[in-house]
């Protein structure tokens, strides 16, 4: 018989064991009687000789080798029975755990998706991103990784560390199809080495190789992503070889990427991919320009090559590569900075992701927050379990006296916790999906919908299991140990009968409540800091009006306008828009504020050199945005391409470049850049400082120049102010402009919405930390209430005596509240210290608040104390309403 067969026949086995032992005892009794003892005596003797029957049985089961399985099955059955007997407790416990574990798993799932998951390509650990190490400088900011195309070519020529170096660029809206069928899709321009280096196998057809990407390529092919192939072509193989129109040019579908491959940028997906050479005919200068950073570059390390050595090699070949790609048209000083740049390789097996850069800290913090909430929930459960354990103390005592081992009792108690944790974990896993989906939904804006692979993977399952186990240990271990420490004699005798209760009996509960309160304080402080930061950003005066402003973007490419007419067409469009009755004001611009875009030029005035943001706008720009003009004049129709160059600057510019003196009439000179020749500007006005690329950063020096004097093409965007509903306004504008220019492409956005969308992260942190903070306080208060209420029940006799001896109701309330106040005070003190330390980790996410903001701490402590006070007042009041006689009689 194998052990599982024996297990199968367990009931049988138990009965046989019973029979075998009974046979022994009865034979002995019979022998004893035969030897002349009375039956009573014979029975007693036989039992004494034999020893504890239950103990022997237990040892026999163990000897059979299946004891642990049997015991576990038995424990689980017993626990299930217990849990069924107290459905309210069970449901509350499982739901609490499911919420706690689900929240943790959801955040982990997001972290997993944006950070931990490797790209679905062979040997992803060999992939490295090649980027410039010592930005910022030369327009390279810390979180911008793109290189120029000449740099990519130089790297490919000179590097030895990679088996393939590839680059790509993604485009948000590429026109796909023709006429009314046309739609916008996400496109990738890839160089010929991308697919070979990624070692991808096509799902259908073939992928590009080096042959497809030759300078001046004419036969244009396109590769589809698997989902696009499915949705657009129904997954038919006949799609291969068919012709599609992209940006009004015919392309032949050559293949489909594998189903799991969604590009190299986590959080976005692509629909179509074309070789970079196909774009060369449309914009050849992109491939030769040495100051246009647009191609993201990665490489696959040669076998046996370490990332470190590859990075060292890149650094070593950097000077030569940079010298060979020196941009022209810049001042010697800028070129000196360019020469100082160095290339490096960083791990990219998990792809690249702007989501990761943006949300990394937030997600780790949220994981911490949800972890703390789970801790509080576990402390609550632990308290409940402790209370249950005390109620069952007599049962445990009896079982110990009957020969059950302490280990067995601990195991049994843990089995109950384990069942709860397992149920909570399973439910939590389901909940996590919904939670993470809603967080993504929360982050989805009109223009940006994060695309994340949220399928359940082993990491997530392991994480959930680990969290559930940990939770089980936290809330299950104390009651289990407590139950095993029962002294059989004492417990049976004393259960619930003493007049006063010793403090030490509640020490575990007290510690748990203090932990809950201190952790809650940490979460409340965090929530207040995040909510405060969000509020500060939302109520910040950016220096311009964002309400009632519509943004319009125009695409004139299909109008086939000669360059010379571009500016006059822009003026014409502006006039047409202004003539629409609902429009109060409108102006064109080369750069929309707070959308992350930026354009700067070096400036020089006398001996002062600085860098200023530059925007070219039409007259009326400042009036449209209601930015106050502090001195001088606005641009006017007399500022034309041929008139003297004039500029309006902001206060920061005046302070930094002119030392704060009135600059009207003074001049400054820009340093040359390709398309932007060195120009002398005369300052004609000063405006109040406004925010530039985001709401957080202080305004940089800013200059505005007239749109007609823009040296590089025409402005592409328009601010339109109106007090009419913007949705109606945009359709009115669309109708009007389409009537006069059927080929004109246009897109509208709501300025205020777009600015608010830049605060998505702050909004998310404020909402989630606020929610979890409130949940934490609620849970901690329930915990405190539970412990105080339990305390009151246990001290009923004592309270009865006190009242019988003349204690007033107020005194009784005071007695109980004093106890609670002590716990809250200790908790708040510990929590405040922890918050001070932990708030540092969130420093980069805060705005307008110090991590030790005293008001926030005070508010958090007071709020928590108030709620906790209420939580303990209710049971205290109940204690004071006790009838002394009933209380004393109660047992």
């Amino acid at each position: 018989m194998t052990w599982w067969q024996r297990l199968w026949r367990k009931r049988d086995q138990e009965e046989r064991l019973d029979r075998e032992l009974r046979f022994h005892l009865e034979s002995r009794i019979a022998d004893n009687i035969r030897a002349g003892m009375s039956e009573e005596e014979a029975r007693r003797h036989a039992r004494l000789e034999f020893g504890g029957i239950e103990g022997v049985k237990e040892e026999c089961r163990e000897a059979r080798g299946t004891a642990w399985v049997e015991a576990t099955v038995q424990d689980i059955r017993f626990s299930l029975r217990l849990l069924r007997k107290t459905p309210a407790f069970t449901v509350a416990a499982v739901c609490t755990l499911a919420l706690g574990i689900g929240a943790n798993t959801a955040i982990f799932q997001l972290l997993d998706a944006v950070r931990l998951r490797n790209l679905p390509v062979p040997n992803p650990e060999q992939l490295a991103r090649i980027q410039i190490r010592n930005g910022p400088g030369f327009g390279i900011t810390k979180d911008f990784y793109a290189l120029t195309y000449p740099l990519l070519e130089q790297i490919r020529l000179h590097q030895h560390a990679f088996s393939g170096v590839f680059g790509w660029r993604s485009y948000d809206d590429v026109r796909f199809g023709e006429g009314a069928q046309a739609r916008r899709v996400r496109g990738l321009l890839v160089n010929g080495e991308l697919f070979p280096a990624l070692e991808l196998r096509p799902a259908a057809g073939r992928l590009f190789n080096r042959e497809d990407d030759r300078p001046g390529c004419t036969a244009s092919g396109v590769v589809l992503s698997y989902p696009f192939w499915q949705s657009q072509f129904g997954g038919r193989t006949s799609a291969i070889g068919s012709k599609v129109m992209i940006l009004d040019r015919p392309y032949e579908v050559v293949g489909v990427t594998p189903a799991r491959f969604s590009g190299l940028e986590v959080g976005t997906k692509f629909d179509i991919a074309a070789p970079v050479c196909t774009a060369a005919s449309a914009s050849p200068e992109d491939f030769t320009r040495r100051d246009f950073f647009w191609v993201t570059v990665m490489g696959r390390l040669k076998r046996g090559m370490s990332l470190r050595r590859a990075s060292d090699q890149l650094q070593a070949i950097s000077p030569g590569i940079l010298e060979a790609t020196l941009p022209s048209g810049y001042s010697a000083k800028v070129l000196e900075n360019y020469r100082k740049l160095r290339l490096e390789a960083v791990p990219a097996g998990n792809g690249i992701s702007s989501l990761r850069d943006q949300y990394d800290t937030s997600l780790w913090l949220l994981l911490g927050i949800t972890g703390l909430v789970l801790l509080i929930a576990c402390a609550n459960l632990g308290n409940l379990m402790l209370a249950r354990a005390s109620v069952r103390q007599r049962e445990f005592a009896v079982r110990l006296a009957l020969g059950a081992s302490r280990g067995r009792l601990i195991r049994q108690s843990l089995a109950e916790s384990l069942l709860l944790a397992a149920a909570g974990g399973a439910l939590g896993l389901g909940l996590a999906r919904a939670l993470s989906q809603s967080i993504i939904w929360f982050l989805t804006t009109e223009n940006d919908a994060p695309q994340l692979d949220l399928s359940t993977d082993w990491r997530m399952l392991a994480f959930t299991a680990a969290v559930a186990m940990l939770a089980c240990m936290i809330f299950g271990l104390a009651p289990a140990l407590r139950s095993s420490q029962t002294e059989p004699g004492a417990a049976i005798k004393s259960g619930g009968r003493s007049l006063t209760e010793g403090r030490e009996r509640f020490s575990a509960q007290r510690v748990l409540v203090v932990v809950q309160i201190s952790v809650s304080l940490v979460l409340v402080v965090g929530a207040l800091l995040f909510v405060g930061s969000f509020r500060n950003l939302m109520t910040l005066d950016p220096g311009f009006r964002e309400k009632g402003i519509l943004l319009a973007f125009f695409d004139t490419s299909r109008l086939k306008l000669p360059d010379a007419q571009a500016k006059s067409f822009e003026r014409q469009l502006l006039e047409e828009v202004r003539s629409i009755p609902q429009v109060e004001a409108a102006a064109t611009t080369t750069n929309i504020l707070i959308d992350g875009g930026s354009w700067s030029l070096g400036v020089r005035a006398g001996s002062v050199e600085d860098v200023s943001k530059f925007t070219w706008v039409s007259p009326g720009h400042f009036k449209t945005l209601e930015t106050p003009l502090l001195a001088g004049r606005d641009f006017s129709e007399t500022d034309t391409a041929t008139s003297p160059k004039v500029a309006i600057v902001n206060q920061t510019f005046v302070r930094r470049v002119f030392g704060g003196v009135n600059p009207i009439g003074r001049t400054f000179r820009t340093s040359p850049e390709p398309n932007y020749p060195a120009t002398e500007y005369q300052i004609v006005g000063v405006i109040k400082d406004t925010r530039y690329y985001n709401l957080r950063d202080q305004p940089p020096p800013m200059s505005y120049a007239p749109a007609d004097q823009f040296p590089a093409g025409s402005a592409s965007a328009m601010y339109i102010r109106s007090s009419a509903p913007l949705a109606a306004l945009s359709s009115a504008i669309q109708r009007r402009l389409t009537a006069s220019h059927p080929e004109l492409g246009m897109e509208f956005r709501v300025f205020q919405k777009q600015i608010e969308d830049t605060l998505m992260r702050e909004r998310l942190m404020a909402a989630l930390s606020g929610f979890f903070g409130a949940l934490a306080v609620l849970l901690a208060t329930i915990g405190l209430y539970g412990v105080i209420a339990y305390l009151v029940v246990r001290r009923r006799n004592e309270i009865g005596i006190r009242m019988a001896l003349g204690a007033s109701r107020a005194q009784v309330v005071g007695l109980i509240m004093k106890d609670a106040a002590l716990l809250v005070a200790i908790g708040v003190a510990i929590g405040a210290v922890c918050s001070l330390a932990l708030a540092q980790t969130a420093a980069s996410l805060l705005f307008g608040l110090k991590t030790y903001d005293p008001l926030t701490f005070l508010a958090a402590a007071l709020a928590l104390a108030a709620v906790a006070g209420l939580g303990s007042y209710l049971p205290a009041r109940r204690a004071s309403r006790l009838d002394p006689m009933t209380a004393l009689r109660y047992e």
């Binding site: 075998e20 046979f23 022994h24 034999f50 026999c60 000897a63």
Partner: protein, 115 residues
């Protein structure tokens, strides 16, 4: 007064059970009686502790068990030695003899020195 009784050294209970079981199929109670009788009441065996040992030996395949009618007409669980048990008994008996001889030798030697 009873004769002085000794506790059973660790592990020897298994040896004794195997030895008693050589007599043929025998139930637990009879094994207990036998050990008591043969050792002339000199060994103290808590009768309950016999059963875990029996189950352990059965589990290891040294004993086989079947339910049969006993001399009193009731069903009892009878144990008998398996071939494996017989081999085990042989090697353990040899071990025991070697051990007791060695211990006896040492004890005699030290007796000689001290006298």
């Amino acid at each position: 007064m009873d004769t002085p009784r000794s506790d059973l050294p660790q592990g020897t209970l298994d040896l004794l059970i195997l030895k008693v079981a050589t007599l043929g199929p025998i139930h637990g109670y009879a094994i207990a009686q036998r050990i008591q009788q043969i050792s002339r009441d000199a060994l103290l065996v808590q009768q309950g502790s016999l059963y875990p040992a029996l189950h352990r030996l059965e589990n290891r395949g040294l004993l086989a068990a079947e339910w049969k009618e006993s001399e009193t007409g009731r069903e009892a669980k009878f144990y008998r030695l398996t071939a494996k048990g017989r081999r085990q008994l042989k090697s353990e008996t040899e071990d025991w003899h070697r051990l007791s001889a060695a211990v006896g030798l040492i004890l005699r030697l030290s007796d000689g020195e001290s006298s």
